[in-house]
Amino acid sequence: MSMNEIIQGYVEEVRTYLPTLTEGLASLGENPDQPELFEEMHRLVHTIKGASMMVGIPGLSNIALQMEAALTDILSGKLAFSNETLQTMEFTVGRFRDYCSELLDQGVASREKVRETALAYRRLRKLPIEEDEAAVTALLEGVPEIEGGGIGEPAQEEETDEDADEDSGEEPNAPEFDTGTDAEAPPPSASAQTEAEPIPEVRLSDIHPELLDSFFEEAKEHMEDLDRSLQTLESQVTGPAPMTADQKEIVRQIRRYVHTVKGSAAVIGLPTVSAWGHTMEDFLDWLYEGASTIDPDILEVLTESGDLLAAIIANPVDPQTPKTRLLQNRFTTLIGGAGAAAPASEPPSDAPPSAPPTAAPAAESVCREPEDTGIDLFSKQQTLRVGSDRVDELVNLLGELMIAASGFEQQMNRLTREIAELETARKRIRELARDLEVGFEVKALGRLSQTTAATAAPSPLGDFDDFDDLELDRYSELSRIIRHLNESAIEVGAGYNRLTHLHGEFDGHLNRQRVVLSELQDKMMQIRMLPMSTLTNKLRRTIREVSKMLGKQIRLSIIGEEIELDRLVWDKITDPLMHLLRNAADHGIELPRDREQAGKPATATLEISANREGNQVVIRISDDGAGLDYPVIRRKAIKAGLLNADEEITQEALAALIFKPGFSTRDAISEVSGRGVGMDVVRENIQALKGAVRVASWPGKGTRFTIRIPLTLAAVRALLFTVGNRHFALSLNEIREIIRVEPGQWIHRPRPALRIGESLIPLYSLAALLGLKTEEKTGSESDSPPIVLVAAVGDRRKALKIDSLVGQQEIVIKSTGSHLRYVRGISGVTILGDGSVVPILNLPELIGEQAGLSAARPDTRFEPAEAAPQSKGPLSVLVVDDSVSIRQVVSRLIEAQGWKARTANDGIDALEKLGQARPDVIVLDIEMPRMNGYEFLSALNSTSEYRDIPVVMLTSRTAGKHRERALSLGAKGFAAKPFNNEEFVDLILKLTG
């Protein structure tokens, strides 16, 4: 055995002590009263001290010596086991670990470490500072500056995998492994194995829990697939037989699963898993490429290996060295046996004889509890696997619930108003009662005095009886009614109080509900959301590898790592992203030489930026490469039959062609980007997420892909307001200020702007941006100072003129439907409690910050929306009738059509209502108090402003002369009470066109 092998073996030995030391210290930290534990630790440290000196690592020996001395002091009661002692010792164990992991390759700066350790322990043991120097010098005698280094120089084995992206040679927390064997395994003679390198310790606490979780989830899936494949193989293989093509394919699949698990384990820093995975993969390589036959033995070993992999995944802290060694020997035997042309040779002596494989043992072992070996540094939380459609259902239900809640809120506001009405009604009753009382008393007194005066002359007993009886009776009856009226008023008042109280309670409940709802929503989001940072390692690695392979210098900058998306979305978007990155590196970015010639820095910049815009996450991938090669695209498109040879087409439209199926600009499929995945697949993947991808390119300057992914559920606090009589919403966090503009703040030249304090803010008319015609008819609004929203667009402030504020509200952002996946300027819509749909504005797009980005959209001419005649909003109807029930019946009918109804009691009232807002049609009764229908018609006719509003007469007077009179006064329609609903609606429709 060479010295190197001895040291390797020794390192392995020390490594096995580490868990006990770490665990022991942790336990002592909790309860120092465990002398036997101190003794055990003392023994281990002593061993390290002695053995290190023996194998020639004096530095490590001296460090162990320091700890040993301290432990001796503690055991003899000279030193208390303080917190400080604990920390120092933990630190020392960390040093041991450093030696284990660094000794073999880069070496350890021993002198430095010994000095540091010695000083720390001397302080701990209260040894005199003056003697420090002498003591340290003595210790350092014979200790080299650097111990070890280059001892276990592993034989470089090139990765043979086709996707190198799974491996990470440069990942700091994931050292590369060539095999999982450890030094004490007998060196395999004629096997595919290479020199071993010890597996570094796994520290789960160093790994981001989210990464760990997703790794476990992923690994579980792959292990399940692996089990299924193994079962298929088992069912087919009953004895030694030549491998069929199908079986080879299954082996290939298994290798793929193991490879993937290995790769991810290496990336997140689980060397135990990746080491064993790698060993297994080697064996599978042989099985797939080298072996011609398959037999139950091989399968058994495979199954056991799979189980072991599952076990290591379940508890990555434990490398399961004995088992891996055992299985590795069997691999060697099998490979060697096959090499000796003796398939199905006798099983290795130390393995159980191969029993005919029965029901899959692997299936159970995957789900096995983590074995309780090693230190359980973390306890994995129980996870639940739920179908994503179920979560989607919950998310949808939650959305519905929020909409329902906002509907409830609106009804509550109405209730508040109704209750206030009740109070006024009560007051009115009281007043009436009082009036009645006073009035009656005055009258009664007056009459009484009159009668007394009149009856004074005749005989007092004459007709007193019949008179007085009647009067008195009536008096008491009336006063009783008045009293009742008063009591009723009090009862109504009490009812009002009770209602107010109830209302308050409701409001409280509603508030609590609102709080719980928003919490629920937060949790719901968290269930599914992951930040982009979970992806970035993979992306960076891809670029590193690709740039190395292509000989290009690429700097990848990632912006918005904190942006969160549904984890399923990340899953599905990873491939398209990687593809776009590879594409950019391969096709877009030029070689350093070419770049320098073009006057660009040799190192290209590739940028991925994620942003949340409204209900979308926008991911942009931009490079500063050569841009799209339009002539080549054109040629390809013609060749692929996507374009006629003589067809004139814009660059944007050409760019869009790269997303067509069967389009690839390179003749030869390149190793980097031509993996059979075309841009059409990228687009398809993104569309499957209801997202969209666009490309924009500037020749010589670069290319930018913009991916938009809608959020599944997003609720924001938004401001609702009106512009041009339509409702719109804008997320509150985009709004900085809401102000009423005073005339002095207006600036008209050189462009509309606002002066706020010292600064000038450009002013935009939302109506113009939205292509709405501002209706100047509503003169009342122009009198009051206009309302302006000051919003942050990018890093600048912009002022937006609106018509009126409606209020703020929690709204659920919905997409604009499966048809209109992307509407410029709109980031989504929301449904209010009353079912109406309100667009949510996307200011950056509306104000045109991103102009020029969008590729060809041939059919969209940005026509203003009012090209459609239906877009005026609901019909508004004024119902004028003195009967409250007729008003109600007609209003209800009108509202059932989705129209708006307003009511007036009589002609005078109607004229007043006209002044407030102009209806599209008036429904008019004839007989009414104050001003009847005919009079109202005449009044209407004399006002030019209202003359053209169509009027429908609704009356029980069906005689011809009434009809003629009405029509002569300008009524457009005539309906008789009782009316037929359908006919009536049709009549209104006919009149309003």
Partner: protein, 196 residues
């Protein structure tokens, strides 16, 4: 009965029947009991509708819902033929003015219109039409193998005839145009909103 009430009373009933037919396929079987023709495998059901004096039909399985034109919320930056979006039972569905999409000049604004929600696996679109006449069955054997009026390249009819899969003379002298919903919804014009 006045002419207004006639159409509307029956329309409401019709909508109920059709919507029932859309949700459950039972209607076909029920009708076949009293009708002479049994539920023939070669029989297709169509929703017949009008735009001005143009008679059109769309296969029943392509429709999800019909009804009176709902309240439509217009959105900016869209071509005129997209009227906007509507809330159809909690789902946001875009409404397309089919007449405008077909570039048929509007005879005049109408308020009382109907909509039909058409669907493909990828998307749902509401088309707004003037009137819905009813649902009727058609033996596929009665259909010409090829559209007699406009086929392929020889089609010199107006542009919208590209979306017609077949043309059929009716007993009353009118000509029925069968709409190819699939083609309509997957046309590039219709799909100009997924980004490019």
């Amino acid at each position: 009965m006045s002419p207004h009430s006639m159409t509307d009373q029956t329309i409401e009933e019709l909508i109920t029947v059709i919507n029932r037919g859309l949700t459950a396929e039972d209607t076909t079987r029920e009708e076949s009991k009293d009708g002479t023709a049994s539920a023939h495998p070669d029989e297709i059901q169509l929703i017949k509708f009008m735009m001005d004096d143009l008679l059109l039909a769309v296969p029943l399985p392509k429709a999800l819902e019909i009804g009176r034109q709902p309240v439509i919320t217009p959105l900016p930056n869209l071509p005129g033929w997209v009227l906007g979006v509507s809330n159809i039972r909690g789902e946001i569905i875009s409404m397309v003015d089919l007449k405008a999409f077909f570039e048929i000049p509007a005879a005049g604004p109408r308020r009382d219109r109907r909509f039909i929600v058409l669907h493909t696996p990828e998307m749902k679109v509401g088309i707004v039409v003037d009137r819905i006449l009813g649902i009727f069955s058609l033996d596929t054997a009665d259909l010409p193998d090829q559209d007699p009026l406009h086929t392929g390249r020889e089609n010199d009819g107006p542009a919208w005839t590209a979306y017609i899969s077949n043309t059929l003379p009716m007993a009353d002298g009118a000509v029925l145009n069968i709409l190819d919903a699939e083609k309509l919804l997957s046309s590039s014009r219709m799909n100009a909103f997924d980004s490019h």
